[in-house]
């Protein structure tokens, strides 16, 4: 049953958002069933589709890949195990459309991504820092950020 | 006044000649009352902590004095030594006046508490009325303190306190009224005398229950402690008070408990009546048993919500109290 839904979702996503970027993942090892790479412009369309399918937004996160941020949207489903990892490569400094209107849960998730990695979300109702103080002038999860001694950081041997 | 006979005769005679018998009784009574209030509060706080401790599988105070009896005294000394903080934006005359005003009416109520036959500072023929009248003043002081504190939690606590007291004084008075009808007097001595054969708690069980519930609410005790609900309003109306001012609120609360329990004892539990021992012992025993029940209730139940509290008063307690009063009146009319 789980596989059925996943296949159907995969087909639909493939039709709408480009089949080439859609891949099956090794669930036992990677923990998600579908992996989708899409253009940032399609994010809101994807969110609308996932809301239609009755999935929920598990989380949004981003990985700093040097020149660009790799935004990761993870959707899950209550009825059966079907997890979608949607990846969108966004050049640093470029905003993407917010999906907070579709998934209210995205409100805080997007704020966290903004807070930690500086990704701006266009159309977000209240995009400001969530965990760090409002006057912080850095984004700590960017790879070039070094916690100085004033933040309690010091050199470590690894 | 037999209970004053131990005072050396010369002092007694001289003072009586100077002041007259009535004034002297008042002064000695006042001094005794002041002392009694302190001792009573010390004991009650200790009792509360000890009972709470054992209900909660702990010991409670044990370090200072035997069984920790002096713990409260030490706490009181600590509070005396603390700074009286007056935050800058408070309205200070009211802020300072409030703890005094909350304590004074409680003290006055002692005038009519009937510890024994004749062991009473004054037996007023409107004794019950006096207690309720002065009891009503306390809420004014709480409102003053809460409002003057210029703190939102304190203000919310004060508002709650006023609404709660307005609602709960009605069933309190109504249930006391049932007893007054039966005894035919507002004087405590007369009411206790009237319970010669049978305590009123057996003739008026509903009124007794209503009185105890109303009294718990009147003294802001859990589960009716919403004016100072610490998990909602931090400390309610006395959030901004420190040191001795806070201690006065505390003292007033425990003395108030004693007074409402005394009134309950006099109204429903036969006052000083009891075999073998002299009256005052019985009276105190009954009072402290009632207080124990109040403490026991506090450490068992969650707190009511504000609107539920009002609902409870207006939808359950007042109708039942009115009904009880009417039934009492009708039955008395038929019987007598």
């Amino acid at each position: 049953m789980s596989a059925d839904f996943c296949q159907r979702l995969g087909r639909r996503l493939g039709q709408r958002l480009g089949a080439a970027a859609l891949g099956q993942a090794d669930y036992r090892r990677q923990g998600y069933h579908l992996r989708l790479e899409l253009a940032p412009d399609h994010l809101r369309e994807l969110a609308a589709m996932m809301a239609e399918e009755g999935c929920y937004l598990e989380y949004i996160t981003a990985v700093d890949r040097g020149g660009h941020l790799e935004l990761a949207y993870v959707f899950g489903r209550h009825q059966e195990a079907c997890r979608l990892l949607a990846l969108a490569a966004v050049p640093k400094g470029q905003g993407v459309l917010s999906i907070a209107g579709v998934f209210p849960a995205a409100d805080w998730q997007e704020r966290e991504v903004f807070d930690m990695l500086g990704q701006r979300f266009i159309g977000h109702p209240n995009l400001k820092r969530i965990l760090l103080p409002e006057d912080a002038d850095f984004h700590p999860l960017l790879r070039d950020f070094q916690a100085g001694p004033e933040l309690g950081g010091d050199e470590m041997e690894i | 006044m037999a209970w004053l006979s131990n005072i050396p005769a010369t002092v007694w005679e001289g003072l009586r000649a100077f002041l007259g018998p009535l004034a002297l009784t008042m002064i000695v009574g006042l001094l005794l009352t002041l002392g009694w209030v302190q001792v009573n509060a010390l004991f009650l706080v200790w009792l509360e902590r000890k009972v709470a401790g054992h209900i909660q599988l702990r010991i409670g105070p044990k370090e200072v004095g035997p069984f920790g009896l002096l713990q409260t005294l030490v706490d009181g000394v600590k509070l005396l030594g603390k700074e009286l903080i007056t935050p800058a934006p408070v309205s200070w005359p009211l802020f300072v006046l409030s703890p005094i005003l909350v304590f004074a009416p409680v003290l006055v109520s002692f005038v009519v508490i009937p510890f024994g036959p004749g062991t009473q500072i004054r037996d007023l023929n409107v004794g019950l009325m006096l207690i309720f009248a002065f009891g009503g003043l306390g809420v004014l002081a709480i409102l003053m303190g809460g409002w003057a504190s210029n703190n939102k939690y304190a203000l919310l606590g004060a508002i709650r306190s006023v609404a709660q007291n307005v609602a709960y004084e009605i069933p309190l008075l109504l249930s006391a009224m049932s007893v007054v009808i039966m005894a035919g007097s507002l004087s405590f001595q007369a009411i206790v005398q009237a319970q010669e054969g049978l305590w009123y708690v057996f003739c008026q069980p509903v009124a007794a229950l209503l009185y105890l519930v109303g009294a718990t609410a009147e003294t802001n005790r859990a589960p009716f402690d919403i004016p100072e609900a610490e998990s909602e309003l931090v400390a309610g109306f006395h959030t901004e008070y420190s040191g001795m001012r806070f201690a006065l609120f505390f003292l007033a609360e425990y003395t108030n408990m004693f007074i409402v329990a005394s009134v309950a004892t006099a109204l429903f539990f036969g006052g000083w009546r009891g075999p073998f021992w002299p009256g005052p012992w019985w009276f105190l025993l009954k009072v402290y048993l009632l207080i124990f029940v109040v403490i026991w209730v506090r450490w068992t139940f969650p707190r009511l919500r504000f609107d539920q509290l009002m609902n409870f008063a207006w939808k359950y307690m007042i109708p039942i109290a009115v009904l009880n009063l009417m039934v009492t009146a009708v039955v008395l009319k038929i019987v007598r």
Partner: protein, 370 residues
Amino acid sequence: MHRQALTEDTFYLNLGPQHPSTHGVLRLLLRLDGERIVECQPILGYSHRGHEHMAQNRTYLQFMPNPCRMDYLSGLMYNHAYCLALERACGLEVPARAEHLRVICAELNRISSHLLWFGAYLMDLGAFTPFLYAFDDREDILAILGLATGSRLTYSYCRFGGVRDDVGQDFLEGIRAFIPKMRARLKDYDTLVTRNVIFVNRTQGVGVISPELARAHALTGPCLRASGVGYDIRKAEPYGLYPELDFDIPVRAGGDCLDRYLVRVLEIEQSLRIIEQAMARLPGGPVKATGVPQFITPPPGLYHTSYETARGHLGIFLAADGTRVPYRLKFRVPSFGNLGILPKLLPGTLVADTIAILGSMDVVMPEIDR
């Protein structure tokens, strides 16, 4: 907040960050009309310690003590989840005895977390005594877990490919004595709290969350299951020993505070069942896999692991780059989603309800702030 919206009828109240009922350092900026809430804005981050940043500066093993410190109430489960994430990514097998011990300890931890919540929630509602009864029971669990893990709160018991140490006979006997005691206590809790008319009135119909709202706000754990959705990672995507065990997922349909309370109390019973089964079939053998490299290195790629903690769905997202240091490690914490519904839920309720609703969500602030 918007200054111009401040009319004479409403005022702002800062509930927290130092407040008896915010469970850690949460600040709720409330706009009140009398005692009724018009608007609520949670302000987070008071206990942000930068765990995700720390992860990028430590080897996988060095990060081991950190997950316990995110949600200190279900530290062992976080620890288990972290090991699970790495074991899946590296394809490590865990010996059967270790799997059993992990499940026993994790469920004990779940009970202790629920007990603490139970006590704290009752304290929020003004009843102090159940708090100490719950702590008495919790003390037993902490003592038992201390026997196995050597620690009482931040257990750090699991290791990649197993657990740190084998347990002794005293651990097993402690559990055998604990289970009947806990069952007897649950009966007392039922009489003292669950049936209490004041408690029922305080919680019934308060803070109702519909299943749709719960999905939109990504609620998980007992909060979701109280809204009639039987979603539990232990059943939906079973890990460890769970597929082999027989247990139920308590689901309630009302979505109010009372149902959230009941779901957690029923979960304590189910956890006891799980522990009994795991104890009955506890095999012998090693507790650590052999051949686990000293510096564990998952192959490059993106990994996700789901875990059901006491508060809900914990997701661990790992971007590995083939070194011994995580490239990016993200924790999807359950409380983050559960707290996010608050601005939606609170308007129109009373201050006392705010405390009841906030308490019923069972948020742990250090987990949200990370």
